[in-house]
Amino acid sequence: MLFNSYTFIFCFLPVALIGYFTLNHFNKITLGKWWLALASLYFYSYWSVKNLPLFLISLTVNYFIGHYLHMGIRKKQTLFRLGLVFNIGILCFFKYSGLVGLAQFALPLGLSFYTLQQVGFLIDSYEGLAEEKSFIDYAVFVSFFPQLISGPIVHYQHLMPQILKNDNKHFRVDQFSVGLFVFSIGLVKKVLISEAFSSWAKPGFDEAMTLDLLAAWKTSLSYTFQLYFDFSGYTDMAIGLGHMFNVKLQQNFNSPFRSKSVIEFWTRWHMTLSQFISTYIFTPIVRAMPKINFRNTMIATFIAMFIAGVWHGAGWTFVVYGALHGLALVVNHLRKKKKKKFPGWVSWLLTFNFVNVTFVIFRAKDMSDAIKVLRGMIGLDGVVVPKIGISSVGFLKDYGFEVGSYLYPNDYLMIAMFVAVFWSIHKAKNSIELEKEFKPSVKLACACGAAFVLCIFGMNRITEFIYFNF
């Protein structure tokens, strides 16, 4: 099920909320948890029940491993390693089996996320930081539907205490209000903004054979913003839904396009993934090295970023994406160490363009597709100047530029949206800030209501989140 669908908003969500809080109200706490878990499983299997068996197996196996890790057994380390192999094995099998010539299976929904989440739990259990008390508690942790399919990745010790806290067992008007507010923001980002950018990105990637300069930039910038609004919108919705259940989920985005360096970018983009990679992959690699010096940490950084890249999928584009970002991080750290710095706006420009260009690679079906767009971006396939109502634009023909057609209203809308987005990158508050400063008022409620209604109209074509494929 998608958050941005009528079924979810008008059927599933109210029923899930009412059931959960009603059961808690009559002090049937355990039943309430079962309700939440089962509702989450229903949510998960709505698309296809075929996803469910693997999910349940993963959940059960991990629960037992986590359980026995606390029982003071002898072969604790062996069990822990088996657990890791189990999870990573499943992930690699479904993601990369096509590479070694085996039949490529369809990636089960949310596999990458719920696997990572449980790996984190196993490691935390092994280190004595987490311990689930009961199967149902663990089941709720893994299946909690606001974050099940595409994160934010949560830690057991961060989520469960909130669910178990007494204050949180009852419907809270203040939490529900802020949840409604944040959910609306996410809905607008996903349904209205991301959709629009998607319509401008798609033709360039999927239909055109070559792209002139402006078309190439329109395509790449549109995709960058499509991806951001799609995923951050999803995250906002997840966080909003969490609030409705009195759970504070962790943020995933913090104005990533304000970043003035690649290092900074990864502290602002898909933050829960970055933190996971940094904590559970980067750090162990560093610690495994003979010495913790600059050279070794750079190697570890590159490897960790590379893994982050190919976590997204088995394809050269993801390899290149991860490698490029790994390289960029290393270069960034080198310059930092040498205290070399560009002026502020140069740093921003370089960072933004690097991010934009690598997203082209990230999106493309294959490297030749990516090259098609990148070529266009440096003008290798011509420059077509649109007729912007000035007849004098024709003189440009003498300089080898082609003159195209008039701009359509849709093009003006696109330009307006680009301007609005670039302005908001620097001037507007992001959803974290908005959430923090939320003050309920009738005016705000009406604004949200209006935005919500527009989204209802905008939702009538079901599309998928991009991160669904991971």
Binding site: E127, G128, L129, I263, T283, P284, T297, T301, K336
Partner: protein
């Protein structure tokens, strides 16, 4: 060891590893506020602290240690165990 003493020690490490001798380190200081404090210097900092206090941080604790106040508390807890 008192929290103040731990804070004093940590401050030395921070100044050293981050190569920022003028940084004013308080319990409120966190990685997000300090440009030099990124994942790379963080791991070096952790390593130095672990060696010095002869303690070991669990992976799951590393994110907590991005805030000086939390770091001091955690070190204190480990020393008392």
């Amino acid at each position: 060891m008192t929290n103040e003493e731990i804070l004093k020690n940590i401050t030395v490490f921070i100044h050293d590893v981050l190569e920022a001798p003028d940084l004013n380190v308080t319990p409120e200081t966190s990685a997000a506020d300090v440009d030099e404090w990124d994942s790379m210097t963080h791991i070096q900092l952790i390593s130095a602290i672990e060696k010095s206090y002869k303690i070991r941080f669990a992976l799951g604790e590393l994110q907590t240690l991005k805030n000086v106040g939390d770091m001091v508390n955690l070190i204190q807890k480990k020393l008392n165990n």
